[in-house]
């Protein structure tokens, strides 16, 4: 006869992790949704208002991209949590895919931000340097 004390049964741990994963992934989805709603309202206001410069739209688009990256971070955290208990090859593969997507998004977004900054600092291509920037 074996006397064993189960402090934290695996089934309970599995359920707890499952809840945590869902909470973290829901937070990621909420961040993406909120970012998209904010960007959508800003696009409408800029498009229907007076600020119709392409640079204004690019700025709004980049802000949406930052929300996407943040939401992806949460999703990645959820995936890391889900691999905490008995990770399968499928889960590891999906984690790798999401990490690749997140890294690619991060990389391209950083390049876009750097390019936007260079354009703002260096002036607009079709305008003289003295009139750099949007009206």
């Amino acid at each position: 006869m074996t006397a064993s004390i189960e402090v934290l049964p695996e089934s309970v741990l599995r359920d707890v992790v499952d809840v945590l994963v869902r909470v973290v992934e829901a937070a990621g989805a909420l961040i993406i949704f909120v970012g998209a709603v904010i960007a959508f309202v800003r696009f409408l206001r800029a498009g229907l208002g007076m600020r119709r410069s392409a640079r204004e739209f690019a700025t709004i688009r980049l802000s949406l991209g930052r929300f996407l990256v943040l939401g992806l971070e949460f999703q990645l955290a959820g995936d890391i949590l889900s691999t905490a208990i008995s990770p399968s090859y499928t889960e590891i593969g999906q984690l790798a895919a999401i990490a690749t997507i997140r890294t690619a998004l991060n990389y391209f977004l950083s390049r876009e931000i750097a390019r936007e900054r260079a354009e703002v600092e260096g002036g607009w291509p079709d305008q003289p340097a003295s009139s750099a920037g949007p009206p």
Partner: protein
């Protein structure tokens, strides 16, 4: 100690597959509207297309928040690759012209 039945109820409560599907559809609609607004305001496809693809990326990432499948992963990755290809094909600097300051022909 956690009550197992409460925990399972919470898990079912947090199963938001339908909600996330709805959000993804809403974001797809927002993509079309926002891109149309930008296109109407700037009259430049180079400005409107990135907006469309950014929102479509958001929709794809929302779908990833539920149980991710290889199909949803491929779709999200595909949109990002497509977005980059379109941006590269449009060329750098083409998105910076303003509607009230058209390009010199």
């Amino acid at each position: 100690m956690l009550d197992m039945s409460e925990l399972l109820d919470m898990t079912e409560l947090l199963d938001m597959t339908e909600l996330l599907d709805t959000v993804a559809i809403l974001l797809t609609g927002a993509a079309l509207v926002a891109a149309a607004v930008v296109l109407a305001a700037t009259r430049q496809l180079a400005c409107a297309l990135p907006v469309l693809l950014e929102f479509l990326t958001a929709a794809g990432l929302t779908r990833l928040a539920r149980d991710p499948t290889w199909t949803s992963l491929l779709m999200a990755g595909g949109v990002i690759v497509l977005r980059r290809l379109i941006l590269v094909s449009l060329g750098p600097g083409r998105s910076v012209h303003t509607a009230d300051q058209p390009r010199a022909e």
